[in-house]
């Protein structure tokens, strides 16, 4: 009796996995667009980041704030749009340099940004009802790594530069993107 019930539950689980895989086939239609550039890097707008919600407990791209110290860190968020005709190796080299030559902050990719929030979030992991939402948002949207294989198609990622508040002004931000170690694209921005 009991084993039958468990078997039935696993049939339910199997059906849900089929449903998820069906959704996946819809979502993987990020088709390569020959009218768009291979790489486009811009500063993320407030509209871009609003998709993660206006609740600071849920949106990983809203800076941590303290009752006493105000904004603890300052973020500068880059949006990286990739449009690739074939699966390619992506290498990204970001720099944020002050006029004296020192680093202005640290760029975080997916796993390191998750660790950042585990450290900075004012709530214990078990106490923030939106903690899971925040971590899933990072998993989905943050640049996977500075070097990784990207499948063909059109994809968007976010790359946060994080510095103790405020980010030193002026700061020169430069990003070099290499596709299959050959093609390269450069982006320069001045934070002032």
């Amino acid at each position: 009796m009991k084993s039958n019930i468990i078997k039935n539950r696993y049939i339910e689980l199997f059906l849900i996995l089929i449903f998820i895989l069906t959704l996946s086939s819809c979502a993987t239609a990020h088709k390569y667009d020959s009218n768009k550039p291979f790489v486009k890097i811009t500063q993320a707008t407030s509209t871009d980041l609003r998709q993660f919600g206006s609740n600071p407990s849920a949106n990983p791209y809203i800076e941590p704030k303290s009752l006493f110290r105000g904004k603890i860190d300052e973020f500068f968020i880059l949006k990286i749009s990739l449009n690739l005709p074939k699966k390619s190796k992506i290498s990204i080299v970001p720099r944020a340099i002050r006029p004296d030559g020192k680093d202005s902050g640290r760029f975080y990719t997916r796993d390191s940004f998750i660790e950042y929030w585990k450290f900075k979030d004012v709530y214990d992991e078990d106490a923030n009802p939106y903690g899971n939402t925040k971590m899933v948002a990072i998993q989905r949207s943050c640049l996977p790594s500075f070097e990784y294989m990207q499948k063909a198609g059109n994809f968007e990622y976010y790359l946060p530069l994080v510095s103790p508040n405020p980010i030193a002004r002026p700061t020169n931000v430069s990003i070099d993107v290499f596709i299959d170690d050959v093609a390269s694209f450069s982006y320069i921005y001045l934070i002032e």
């Binding site: 959704l23 206006s54 303290s66 009752l67 004012v122 939402t133």
Partner: protein, 315 residues
Amino acid sequence: MKKLIVLLLTIAMVGAVSAQVTTSVKLSGGVTLVDQAGNAIFARDGSGTETLTFKAAEKDGKYGFSITYPDVLALDATAVSGWNVYYVGDYVKYTLGYKLSNSTFRASLDQYSKTSFGRLSGISDANGIFLQSTTLGDLIVGAFFPVTTAGGPTLDLLKGADAGVKYTIKDIGFAQAYLNLATGANKVGAGFTYNAIKGLTVAAISEIGIDAKKYSFGVSANYGGIDKLTIHLQACDVYATTNSFEVYGQADYALLDNVSATGWGKFVSTGNVMKVGAFVDYSFANGLTLEGNGSYDFSTSKLGADLTIYYGVSF
């Protein structure tokens, strides 16, 4: 305990002015100012009433420690709810601690605290040594080896070891699975979170308690693609000696950047419990949230209401 807290605060303050160390002191909790009976009481925020956490890490996060006290403002608070020290090596992150909890392999439903099975038990929640890979890209593997204060043969560490795995499929989602033997609960679980469609997250999780012959399964969906509206749906089924089924739904609407309104409803098959409710949150002063709650329980025909202030402050 007071001396220890003063010591940790001092370390935190020293860390705050040091470029080589990052520190964090956090206090979170809540106070119900008034409820439907006209009472005031400290409110739980999930981990307890008034949770105090100290964390410190080397500036690049290579090593650090964390210690958490629950119920810290209660006069009889003496217990630590957990502590750990860690070092991130070239290939492995090593963590040693008391009541180690690691969320890497613990899949969760969207609103995990809203139904009785909202997330997997995960790996450990015991005392010991935890190892986690750092260089396998989208794959993370981990193992936990329990060490007791009573002591015992070193080889026994292997008997109660936990194991976990997480694999991210870029632009699709991620899967987590684990085997938990260390706490004696003997559980195995797995979950998949799908997030390929902008604004939509779907999660399915399942866990079997081998000794308890308990089976749990849950699924959730979260959709935030409609301007200021976010919709959450969640259901779970827990089978032990009897079967219990729960369904939960919630809609959040952002009225302003710091004001949101939420409506929710819940059904639990055991006892045919049906509840509905609504609350409004007002966030202010970088860490304070004033929440007004109202609810109605159809099974007991009882109205509930409270006005609670939650705080999460850090230094």
